[in-house]
Amino acid sequence: MISVKKVNNKPLNLLERIYLWEIARGLLVTMRHFFVNLINPKGMPTVQYPEQKITLSGAARLRTRHRLKVRADGSPKCVACFMCQTACPAYCIRIEAAEYPDNSVEKYPASFDIDLARCVMCGMCVEACPEDAIAMDTLEIPGGVETRTALMMNKESLLRNLPGEPSVKGAANRLANEYLKARGEK
């Protein structure tokens, strides 16, 4: 059974039916904005993205461009478990795994590509990550580029810690922490 909602539209009065007066009223709004902006151009809310960008607050609760977190020794926290690639509904993540010969973490991503042109910014990869290795908190909104290749992120362009971020604390990866501790890095 489809529920039907009845909308009681107010019948138009004579002035509205004449139409011209309503047009003039609309144009008045436009003209007001035009002159206000002409006199005070700095008050315009429009941002000339991507040439001009607004600074998003650090506490902004939004999903922005991805980054891969880094351990103290500069290696990616990511262990190439493919959880994000599996969870991604847009099939935009592509990982190739490789093996560390000495590091007891054993596995790391030889390549980690995100095609931002395909990404739907849903944040499933962040949800799925068991190592807290991927985050969407760079406060950069992707999209304003001139070539498609500029939207292809790779391991090198994704690896980055935020200023002041502790690199080991909170790491879910026990083996990584042990390895770093053994090497005297905290």
Partner: protein
Amino acid sequence: MPKLTIDGNTVEVAKGATLLEAAQQLGVYIPRYCYHPKLTVSGSCRMCMVEVEKSPKLVTACSTEAADGMIVRTTTDKVKAARKDVLEFLLINHPLDCPICDQAGECSLQDYYMAYSLAKSRFPQGDKARRAKRRAVGPHLVLDNERCILCTRCVRFCAEVTKTSELDVMERADHSYIDLKEGKALDNDYSLNIADLCPVGAFTSRDFRFKTRAWFLKKTSTICLGCATGCLIEAHHHENAVHRIVPRPNAETNTWLCDHGRMTYKAVRAGDRLAKGVIKNGVIDLEPALREVASRIDEAHSAAAVLGSPWLSVEDNAALSRLAGDALKTENFCFDFTAEQGIRDGILINKDPAPNTAGAMLLKAARGGLTLEEFSRRIGAGQIKVVVTEARAAAFIKDVVKASGARLIVFATNKAQIPAGAYATLPYASYFETPGTFINHQGLRRRAEPAVEAQEGVKPLWEMVNKLAVYSGTSLRLHCAEDALKGINF
């Protein structure tokens, strides 16, 4: 014949059958780690506990013989609690390695935890016992003792199936761990079965290691062409690349699969894979190569000959026979291959390394042709000047060809197969890329099914034969592989 009741259903089983087998007969699944149908019963994992009426305690289904009038319950609260507790114990020291463990996705610990436990760990992560992590224990396997649940399937496999006994449980009680016996390496011909057997990620394959995740793999049922045994296998592939081969257990031939057979897929994506023709040592495009080969065949005229191959499917051999009979119109063709058949090591590996000797003989019966001795004699006597064959079959006539200087034209999938002195080589799609029928040493007809797509331009052998015939002026009218089989009672 004892008759017993399991979860309210009555079943009659053979004498000596265990409760687990009886339940299986009824379709009741009992979780297990250490039980394997082809290995002796160990009863060490305690996962298969069931409730038997009038028995004071729960019993292990895998080691309790079914008796007449038994009333077994597998879904009571007591059984559920037992499973949950067993899992909790097994998981106490199990590391949180799933992100880096190749078993993830096909791991019994993961599966049973989701199905029977879902309990939070009461054990602090820092208190977990530590054991040796990854360690190569042979050419094909990696051992991670920390992940092991000591089900001893691997120990029993080495003791009972390969009878090499490389592995054993070292020390006692909660100190125990699986290790190689002193001075041994896990290098038997069947070692990769242990990676399949291992219900957790303790033994994993070195070859498959970190290649992809188990849940991405698509599965194609096909057959192994490593020898005349013709084991049933499953090719696991992802994004048009085969990543591993596992056995498809069946009553006729195999429960296991040998390491050699498991590595046969490597040739498909090897760097020396042929996609173009080779004339002498120079690679040239396929069409000019075909033209060149056709003109050499036409030049030799009635001195051209065709040699079938026990490495090719029945259809492709039939296409070669059509090439000889209908296009070259020559009597000089041979499908006569004899090789000693039989299991060499008492497990799986056959004395005959070719997968289709019986199939080639079937063509001999249907189409006639020369015996291999007569064929070789004619090459030696100079009656045959051009031989068209498959690369590995060229080994049968290697010496006479060299002595007589006859031109050898071979079909090959990889550069490494090309015999020395071959005049021309034409590529064809391997049997991971194209279907084909093979007859194993027992006379069983088995079908290879394509798991991946061939590289662009690489065609099945029958299609290459068809093209070759067109270039030399006759149409064989082969539109599919089965067209070649016309007139063969098969």
